[in-house]
C-alpha cells in the first residue's frame, strides 16, 4: 500500500518541481525550457519501454525464430517516433498550461496527476493477476487513463466553465483585437519558445472569440471548456508514464514487493 503512494508521490514531485522551475524561469528567459529537460527525458524513457516491450513480445510470437527480418524489425524506429511525439506534445501542452493556469487550477491538475499515478499502481496489480507482462502494464496504462481522465475532464470543464476568467475586452473585440489580446497574455520576448507559447495563446484567443461571437448558443461555451479539459488526458497519461518510471527506474525493486505485486511468479 505504501509503495503505490510512494510511486505516485515521486511522479507528482518531479512534475511539480519541473513546472515550478519552468514557470519561474520563463519570466526571464526562453532557456527556461531546460527546466523541462529532465521531465521530457524521464517521460521519453518510460514511454520507450512501454511501447517497445509489448512490440517485442508480440514480435516474438508472430515472427519465426530463424527469420532474417528479426534484425530489422527491432521496433526501435517506431518506438522512437511514438515516444518522441508523445513526449513533445504532452510536455509542450503541460508546460503551456503551467504558464496560464491559476493556482487553484494548478492544484486541481496536480491532484488529477497524483490520482492517475496512484490508480495505475493499483490497476497494474489487478491486471497482473490476469495478463502477462508487459501486457498487464500496457492495459493498465490504457484502462486507468480512461477511467481517471473522463471524470477529470468533466471536473476541469466544470471548473473552467464556472470559474476561469476571460479578459473582458474580448466581448467587444473584433478578430484582430482578440488575437492581439491572446498574444499579449504571453511574454513579449521575440524568442522561439515565447513565440510557440504566443501561438498557443493566440489559438486559444481565437477559439474564445468564436465562442463569444456565437454566444447565443451556450453549448459552444461548454465545448470550449471541454476542449480545454481534454488536456486532462495528457495529464493522466503523463502521470501514469512517470509512475512507471518511478517504479521501474527510481525505487528499488524489492522482491517482497514484486511478490506482492505479481503473485508467486
Amino acid at each position: 500500500m505504501v509503495r503505490p503512494v510512494q510511486i505516485a508521490a515521486l511522479a507528482t514531485l518531479l512534475m511539480t518541481v519541473s513546472l515550478c522551475l519552468w514557470r519561474l524561469l520563463f519570466i526571464y528567459t526562453d532557456w527556461a525550457i531546460l527546466a523541462l529537460g529532465p521531465l521530457a527525458i524521464f517521460v521519453f524513457t518510460s514511454m520507450w519501454s512501454l511501447i517497445l516491450e509489448p512490440w517485442r513480445a508480440r514480435l516474438k510470437l508472430e515472427l519465426r525464430e530463424d527469420s532474417t527480418w528479426r534484425n530489422w524489425l527491432t521496433g526501435h524506429i517506431r518506438t522512437f517516433f511514438l515516444s518522441s511525439i508523445f513526449t513533445l506534445v504532452s510536455v509542450t501542452l503541460i508546460a503551456w498550461q503551467a504558464l496560464r493556469v491559476s493556482n487553484i487550477n494548478a492544484a486541481i491538475l496536480l491532484c488529477i496527476f497524483f490520482v492517475a499515478a496512484l490508480a495505475f499502481s493499483f490497476g497494474q496489480r489487478v491486471l497482473s493477476q490476469h495478463f502477462n507482462e508487459p501486457f498487464a502494464r500496457l492495459y493498465a496504462t490504457s484502462v486507468v487513463m480512461w477511467c481517471v481522465a473522463i471524470p477529470a475532464t468533466v471536473c476541469i470543464a466544470l471548473v473552467s466553465y464556472n470559474f476561469s476568467t476571460m479578459p473582458g475586452e474580448m466581448i467587444t473585440a473584433d478578430f484582430r483585437e482578440a488575437l492581439k489580446i491572446g498574444l499579449m497574455q504571453s511574454s513579449s520576448r521575440d524568442e522561439w519558445i515565447s513565440n510557440i507559447v504566443a501561438l498557443l495563446d493566440g489559438y486559444e484567443a481565437v477559439k474564445l472569440w468564436m465562442v463569444i461571437q456565437m454566444r447565443d448558443y451556450p453549448v459552444l461555451g461548454w465545448f470550449f471548456s471541454l476542449d480545454a479539459a481534454i488536456f486532462s488526458f495528457f495529464i493522466c497519461r503523463t502521470g501514469i508514464i512517470l509512475a512507471q518510471f518511478s517504479d521501474a527506474r527510481v525505487l528499488s525493486h524489492s522482491k517482497n514487493y514484486k511478490k506482492e505485486l505479481f503473485g508467486k511468479s
Binding site: L10, M166, I171, F245
Partner: protein
C-alpha cells in the same frame, strides 16, 4: 520477463534537488528584489514594465471581486463623508448663531423697529447680519466633502490594490486598467454631482425672507398700537398747545412726534424685556431647521453621488473579465427572456396603475433580486429593484364629495368640516349650501398612501346656524385600494364610492362626532388617485445590444 532496467534514481533525485534548489533560489531572489523595489515607487513601476523579477504571478480579479472592491470603496467613501457633514456644518453655522444677539440688538432699537415695518429692508438686514459670508462657507464645505469622498474612495481602492500586491500576486494588467479607469472616472464625476448641494444656498435667502415676514407681521400689529398712542399724543399736544395761538399746529406736531418717539422707545424696551429671549430662540430654531435641511440635502447629494460612482464602476466591471458561464448569460435566449420579462413587467407598471398590485410588485422585486448578481443583467435588475421602491406609493390628489345633509337637518346654512383619509386630514372650508341643492365639495390634497393599505375615509361636517347651536354630522367608509385599482388604465384612477352621514345630536364640536356608517344620508365620494411615476430604465436590455 524483461531484463532488469538500469536504476536512474541518482539522476532522478539529482534533477529534483537541482530544480527544487534553483526554484527556491529564484523565489527568494524574487521576494528580495520585490522588497527592495517596494522602497521606491519609481523602481517598482519600472519593475512592472519589465514584467519580470519580483512578479512571479499576476492576479486578475474576477468581475465579481472587482465589483465588491469598488462597492466597498464607495461605501467607505459615503460613510466618511456623512460622518463629516455635521461637524463641517457646525463650522458654517457658528457665525450665524453668534450673530443672533447682534441682530436682536438692532431689532430691539427704534431704527430697527422702523426697518421692521418693511419686510424687504428687514430681510436685507437679516441677510447682512446673520448670513454674511454664508455662501462662501457652504461652498467650502462642498469642496471639502468632495475631497473627503474622492480621497477615501481612491485610497480605499489603492489599499485594496496594495493588499493584492502584498500577497505576492501583483494585480494583472486588466485589473490595473479597470482600476485606473475607475479612478479616472471617479475624479471626473465628483464635483458635478455634489454641485446639487448648491441649490441649498438659496435657502439662506429663503430663511431670511421667512423670518422677515414673520417679524413684519408683528411689527405691523405693534404699529397700530403705536399709531393710536401717537394720535393720542397729537391730540394731547394740540390741546396743550392751544394757548400757543398761531403756532399751535406746529406745537401739536412736535408734541405728537415727541410722544411717538417716547412711546416707541418705551414699547421697544418693554418688548425687548418681554420677548427678546423668545425672539432669539425663534431665530435659533429657524436656523436649526435650516441647518437640518441642508444636512439632509447634503446626505441626499452624497448618496446620489455614490449611486453615480456605483453606476460608473458597474460599467467598468462589465468590461472586466468574465467566466464562460457568465458569457453564456450574455445574449443567450434564456437570459434575454429573463431580461425581457423583467423589463416588460416593469414597463407595464410604469404605464398602468392596475399592474401595480402588491403581489405583482413583490413578484417583480423577487425576480429582479434573483438576477442582481448576474453579470449580464445585474444592472438592469438592480435598477428595477431600486425604482420599485416608489411603485407601491399612491397619491390622493383630489376628493369630490356630492350630496346633502340628512333630510330633517337640511337648511340654507354654511357647512364646514374636515375629511380624513387614513388619519390624514384635509380641511373643508366653509361653503354655503342650498337646502334643496345640497353641496359639491371639491378638495385638493397630497395624501400619500400605500397600495397594500386600505382606504379608510371619514367626513366630519359642521352646519353653521345663526341663532341655534351648530349641528354636527359624520360618516365613514372603507375600501381596499388594491381592489379598486384593478381596472385602472394609465397612472390616474378615479374611485367612486359612497358613505352615509348622520346627525350626531350630542356632539358639540367636530372632535365629538361619533361616526356611524350604517344609516344616514348617502353621499357620493370620488377620489382621484395618482400612481407615482416610475423612472424609465437606463440599463438597456443586453438583447437589444446585439
Amino acid at each position: 520477463m524483461t531484463k532488469e532496467k538500469p536504476n536512474l534514481a541518482r539522476w532522478f533525485w539529482g534533477s529534483i534537488i537541482f530544480m527544487a534548489g534553483l526554484s527556491i533560489f529564484l523565489s527568494v531572489a524574487g521576494v528580495i528584489r520585490q522588497s527592495v523595489d517596494a522602497t521606491t515607487v519609481d523602481s517598482a513601476e519600472a519593475n512592472q514594465g519589465e514584467s519580470g523579477l519580483g512578479e512571479p504571478t499576476a492576479t486578475e480579479l474576477s468581475a465579481v471581486e472587482l465589483d465588491n472592491l469598488l462597492s466597498g470603496a464607495n461605501l467607505k467613501a459615503v460613510n466618511a463623508v456623512i460622518v463629516q457633514i455635521e461637524p463641517l456644518l457646525e463650522e458654517v453655522y457658528q457665525p450665524v448663531y453668534l450673530a443672533i444677539p447682534k441682530f436682536a440688538d438692532y431689532y430691539y432699537s427704534v431704527p430697527g423697529q422702523m426697518v421692521a415695518l418693511s419686510q424687504k429692508k428687514l430681510r436685507v438686514k437679516l441677510e447682512e447680519t446673520l448670513f454674511g459670508g454664508f455662501d462662501k462657507r457652504l461652498s467650502s464645505v462642498e469642496s471639502k466633502l468632495d475631497n473627503i469622498f474622492s480621497s477615501t474612495f481612491l485610497s480605499s481602492v489603492e489599499d485594496e490594490t496594495a493588499e493584492i500586491n502584498a500577497s505576492n500576486n501583483n494585480s494583472g494588467a486588466l485589473t490595473k486598467a479597470a482600476l485606473d479607469d475607475v479612478k479616472g472616472h471617479a475624479r471626473k464625476i465628483i464635483v458635478a454631482d455634489l454641485a446639487i448641494i448648491a441649490g441649498t444656498k438659496i435657502v439662506a435667502k429663503i430663511i431670511a425672507k421667512k423670518f422677515a415676514a414673520k417679524l413684519a407681521i408683528k411689527a405691523v400689529a405693534k404699529g397700530s398700537g403705536k399709531l393710536a398712542a401717537t394720535a393720542t399724543g397729537l391730540g394731547t399736544g394740540a390741546a396743550s398747545c392751544a394757548i400757543a395761538g398761531p403756532v399751535a399746529v406746529g406745537c401739536a406736531v412736535i408734541g405728537g412726534v415727541g410722544a411717538f418717539l417716547l412711546v416707541e422707545y418705551g414699547i421697544v424696551k418693554l418688548d425687548s424685556w418681554w420677548s427678546r429671549a423668545d425672539f432669539e430662540n425663534d431665530l435659533r430654531t429657524m436656523i436649526d431647521e435650516h441647518k437640518h435641511t441642508v444636512k439632509l440635502e447634503m446626505e441626499k447629494a452624497v448618496k446620489f453621488h455614490a449611486l453615480s460612482v456605483q453606476d460608473m464602476s458597474a460599467k467598468v466591471v462589465e468590461q472586466h473579465d468574465f467566466t464562460l458561464r457568465e458569457l453564456s448569460g450574455v445574449g443567450n435566449a434564456e437570459t434575454c427572456n429573463i431580461a425581457t420579462n423583467l423589463s416588460t413587467a416593469y414597463d407595464l407598471m410604469r404605464a398602468t396603475l392596475k399592474e401595480r398590485n402588491s403581489a405583482a410588485i413583490s413578484a417583480l422585486r423577487e425576480a429582479a433580486s434573483e438576477q442582481a448578481g448576474n453579470l449580464s443583467i445585474g444592472r438592469l435588475a438592480q435598477e428595477i429593484t431600486q425604482n420599485l421602491t416608489v411603485a407601491e406609493q399612491i397619491l390622493v390628489k383630489s376628493i369630490k364629495i356630492t350630496g346633502n345633509l340628512p333630510m330633517p337637518q337640511r337648511d340654507d346654512r354654511d357647512v364646514s368640516g374636515r375629511f380624513e383619509i387614513n388619519g390624514k386630514t384635509v380641511e373643508i372650508p366653509k361653503i354655503p349650501i342650498k337646502e334643496g341643492d345640497g353641496f359639491v365639495i371639491e378638495l385638493d390634497g397630497e395624501i400619500n398612501l400605500n397600495i397594500k393599505s386600505n382606504l379608510d375615509y371619514r367626513i366630519l361636517l359642521e352646519q353653521h346656524r345663526r341663532i341655534w347651536d351648530n349641528r354636527y354630522f359624520g360618516g365613514m367608509g372603507k375600501k381596499k385600494i388594491s381592489d379598486v385599482i384593478d381596472t385602472a388604465d394609465g397612472l390616474v384612477n378615479v374611485i367612486n364610492t359612497t358613505l352615509k352621514i348622520s346627525h350626531d345630536e350630542s356632539a358639540e364640536s367636530l372632535e365629538d362626532i361619533r361616526l356611524t356608517s350604517q344609516e344616514g344620508q348617502l353621499l357620493f365620494v370620488s377620489f382621484e388617485l395618482h400612481a407615482k411615476p416610475l423612472t424609465e430604465l437606463k440599463a438597456g436590455s443586453i438583447c437589444q445590444q446585439d
